[in-house]
Symmetry: C2
Subunit: 308 residues, 2 copies
Amino acid sequence: MSKLVIVGTVAFDAIETPFGKTDKILGGAGTFIGLAASNFNVDSSVVSIVGGDFPQEYLNLLTERNIDISGIEIVKDGKTFFWSGKYHNDMNSRDTLVTELNVLEHFNPVVPENYKDAEVVMLGNLHPSVQMGVLNQMNKKPKLVVLDTMNFWMDCALEELHNTIKHVDVITINDEEARQLTGEYSLVVAARKIHKMGPKYVVIKKGEHGALLFHDDDMFYAPALPLENVFDPTGAGDTFAGGFTGFLAKTEDYSFENMKKAVIYGSTLASFCVEKFGTERMVNLKTDEVQKRLRQFKQLTQFEIELK
Amino acid sequence: MSKLVIVGTVAFDAIETPFGKTDKILGGAGTFIGLAASNFNVDSSVVSIVGGDFPQEYLNLLTERNIDISGIEIVKDGKTFFWSGKYHNDMNSRDTLVTELNVLEHFNPVVPENYKDAEVVMLGNLHPSVQMGVLNQMNKKPKLVVLDTMNFWMDCALEELHNTIKHVDVITINDEEARQLTGEYSLVVAARKIHKMGPKYVVIKKGEHGALLFHDDDMFYAPALPLENVFDPTGAGDTFAGGFTGFLAKTEDYSFENMKKAVIYGSTLASFCVEKFGTERMVNLKTDEVQKRLRQFKQLTQFEIELK
């Protein structure tokens, strides 16, 4: 089993959806990725930063899941990163109401010494230079580097993003971002262009429409499980990335065939994430629930056709 | 092999996409459905209406594919239905530029005598009363009635639509239409509501995101094959419906398991349709091309995961 380093925000979120609203609750890409990856019992470390206002119980929640938090810097007199957003009626789009960077403004990630030999690195959505800063601390080239990013960095840090992407094996972005990054409408053509930027594997997240995995001329399309209730989409993409990466770190098989399974695990975990506010569903997730949903995924997608 | 009755427009289309534009070319739901179904060598009849301006070569094109055209009324001094549209850059939306109903305004479909015992009926997108008029002519209740419709009829003929839907086994609509028809955002909940309106099977077409099949608590999700070039989406939904229905008529198996295959065949044929303007790709489609693409569909979607 490979060690896994995760860098990403550990934060407060306040969320409003058509189904209700929350006060400040536990959020952040690093949190969702870590919780998702913890389903695979991998030896993982979350590298992040929080303020003195961050509750010990949230940190305990991570350590209880065997997530190493020695890489989470606590700035005693600082405030934790806070994001607040409101989802529209269709849940596919949202407005950001508040973004208080707070301690994140001066985030200088430090990978714990005993994780500098980790074979798998998951770079959660952050400034691409911060992501690169983590890679630079590794003792040797990791066997797998997964990067998540978003349109914001394409708008305001494109050069740095290109520099970081060069060192990445897998990139996860959504369909609109893939189009923005490449100027190509066809996702097939966009993925090919992204391959040339560095990543041998491109995962395109399509929210309720599923996820696509591209590698050279190979494609794999995992639909999202249609759900009765989508309560809060926050963290679904990070949960996908955490499940994807956690499964690969666990199995130590970085082939296209195994990545297909990793996409299915990522989609399965993300399908739980959206059923409750914030991390609530992920924190209470049980192994047999995951197995049951994997079975549903098979039923949803598998078919028999005889070819001539 | 079951006989298949198809009702739908046979028309002229003029199409503009970011990749070019056409003069008046062969179009219409009945045409696309018929061409798609003809891949299964079923005994099918297209019921429609055209004007005296409709070229004999277009009719020949149908008969060459063993499509019975005795149900296509030719109004010598009338003009053929004409639709013109322009697709936006993302190809997911379009503006209608011209709609000339012409002979369609007084379309009174007449099912040929030797097709009144057909076991499968495909009601292409038309006024729901016209669709019902076809069903009323059948000698006995068909084994399978498939209905395609659109938001336009929900806006201006909802009561008639509800009356027709009652007599239907399978409905095919897109995701937005399913939401409009039921007032439900979740497609799972929407499908359940539509079941109660009559159709035991609900197919939700999601364009480039694939198609969903619902039956009681069973779900099947066939993604669309990601394509390098989408040239013209016109007729893709009808081609899907024609492939779906043609396969079922051919195999005479109307179970959920077989409908999954029918969805895959429909998606496969639709993936060809969009590669050229109008019917061009469908007219020149070869069996081994279809087989090759079915193989691609399997590769795209099939995975192995061991469950505990």
